[in-house]
């Protein structure tokens, strides 16, 4: 940095107290070990300014839920959980904490269990979403659903959809190798009734009986 291309700020105008984040970044680059790696096109030469979706405007979202196309309207800040429950009428997925702590809202996105309360619906267009409504094959329950009934793996039942979607993924990934492994895999899916021994037994037996 030289005086000719970047004159020092006038101390009477605020000086260092008015450092912006960008200034801080430049300072950091100057005093740390950052190394230039090259450049990529930005600005006018890039011609790549994306569409900006407005904060309060619903946009059509083209989702794939339980093997079927689902087109809904939602604003950019709407979570996948609220989109499913409030816009699509799929109320099997439950809202527990709405802060990513309890796992009640667990659904599968491309087969992997995720928290629908922390997923923005607009970010999962094109993905295959599976909710508890899509777990059974018509009238035939999923083996884990049958095991939950046989092992009495719930009391109030509120966390059960999340438990099922986490447990079904645990089985599908072959991760249900022992009760300890099941507990670790499912540690992000809480049960306030404390039905854990029965939940673990259900996943364990469903895994062994296939």
């Amino acid at each position: 940095m030289t005086k000719s291309d970047d004159p020092a700020p006038d101390a009477h105008e605020g000086g260092a107290a008015e450092l912006t984040r960008r200034d801080l970044g430049k300072t950091a680059m100057a005093v740390t070990g950052a190394v230039a790696l090259g450049a990529f096109p930005v600005g006018a030469e890039a011609d790549a300014i994306p569409e900006i979706l407005r904060a309060d405007d619903p946009i059509p979202l083209d989702l794939r839920v339980n093997g079927a196309r689902l087109v809904i309207e939602a604003e950019p800040h709407v979570s996948l959980l609220d989109a499913l429950r409030e816009r699509a009428g799929l109320t099997g997925t439950k809202k527990g904490c709405a802060q990513g702590a309890c796992g009640a809202c667990t659904v599968q996105v491309d087969g992997k269990p995720v928290l629908s309360c922390l997923t923005l619906a607009a970010l999962v267009e094109g993905a295959e979403i599976t909710t508890v409504e899509g777990l059974a094959d018509g009238e035939d329950l999923h083996p884990l659903q049958r095991a939950f009934i046989e092992q009495d793996a719930f009391q109030c039942g509120f966390c059960t959809p999340g438990q099922l979607m986490t447990g079904a993924a645990c089985l599908a990934e072959g991760a249900a190798t022992s009760p300890g492994a099941i507990r670790e895999y499912m540690s992000g899916t809480l049960c306030r009734c404390g039905a854990y021994p029965n939940i673990v037994a259900a996943v364990d037996t469903a895994g062994r009986e296939g």
Binding site: A28, A36, A39, A46, H77, V114, G188
Partner: protein, 325 residues
């Protein structure tokens, strides 16, 4: 949740164009930002979805180690057996972090940028200089059980909460960063996080628009013989009270050629234990060296009212880790 605009660019250039708006922020997995917007701790005007930008995923072996795309998910790297063999501490730090669901969602780049779990940061009715500059620090008079014993200032004592960054700074990881001006640079991870000082609202040295695009981790003998140990209140799905990343290179006669040590749950930023590392190098791998390293590790600790337990816990965790390494 407070509404925001959304842009979904399909190129780096598009992301840089979209992020120019004041108050714009990036979103990848959303596990931190969506939570913080809902809690009122972040107020972005616009989120820029980086998931459609090509080339930011994958784990690749390079000449010197590994290059991990910033959009690789925590679960992707946690399941990578080649990384697990070359640098066990890195993979263990991921396997012991968060939950299955969150590891499936959270990106590696975003994980490094997760914000503190200090209880007051998420409570807009309490003072928090990190959330609202100038509003004070409720932890100074209130709950400081989880607070930092290293790197705190009068303005903030909030702990850096992550696991991965602790393992990474021990092994000299670097970040590839794209700037809004269209420049790529390589920066040591150790230069990413800022001590709180008088401006705790600035967690990092990143400039507006900067985007982490990849992570580089050099392979080494000490990374190959490494471990990440996490001590917490629950056996799973909990942040660290104290964690230690350690790696040793020991020669045939039992002399330590290289030592790498870093600690989590104790610093306002990922905390490398440089003095303890230096004390180990050239000494015999044994009880005496471990005790001296533990003493040096906590020499600069400044505990608050409720977190002095972290001083002893760090020493004991460090000795236990070294004994088994």
């Amino acid at each position: 949740m407070r509404p925001f605009e959304l842009a979904r660019p399909d190129s780096l250039a598009g992301a840089m164009a979209a992020v120019q708006a004041p108050g714009a922020m990036y979103v990848a997995g959303g596990t931190t930002i969506v939570d913080l917007v809902r809690a009122g701790a972040e107020r972005p005007s616009r989120l820029v979805d980086i998931n459609r930008i090509p080339g930011l995923v994958g784990v690749a072996r390079t000449e010197g180690g590994f290059r991990i795309g910033a959009l690789a998910r925590m679960a992707d790297v946690a399941a990578d057996e080649t990384v697990a063999a070359a640098m066990p501490a890195v993979v263990q730090s991921l396997r012991l972090a968060a939950s299955t669901q969150i590891r499936n969602m959270a990106s590696i780049g975003g994980n490094l940028l997760q914000r503190t779990r200090c209880p007051y940061f998420r409570k807009p009715d309490h003072g928090c200089n990190k959330r609202t500059p100038g509003s004070g620090c409720a932890a100074a008079e209130g709950d400081d059980k989880a607070a930092a014993i290293f790197g705190a200032s009068g303005a903030c004592r909030a702990v850096y909460p992550g696991d991965l960054a602790i393992a990474l700074i021990a092994f000299d990881a670097e970040l590839e960063i794209a700037s809004a001006e269209g420049e790529m640079r390589l920066m040591p991870l150790a230069d990413l996080h800022r001590l709180p000082g008088e401006a705790p609202h600035l967690d990092t040295t990143l400039a507006a628009g900067d985007l982490i695009t990849a992570l580089r981790i050099p392979a080494s003998a000490s990374a190959r013989r490494s471990v990440y140990c996490k001590v917490r209140d629950r056996a799973s799905y909990e942040f660290a009270l104290v964690s230690v990343a350690a790696g040793l290179d020991v020669d045939g006669s039992g002399l330590i050629r290289d030592a790498r040590l870093a600690a989590g749950g104790v610093g306002t930023v990922p905390w490398r234990l440089t003095e303890a590392e230096q004390a180990l190098i050239g000494t015999e791998h044994g009880t005496q060296a471990w005790a001296r390293a533990a003493d040096l590790a906590v020499r600069d600790a400044v505990p608050g009212r409720q977190n002095a337990y972290k001083v002893d816990l760090l020493k004991r965790t460090l000795v236990a880790v070294l004994r088994n390494l």
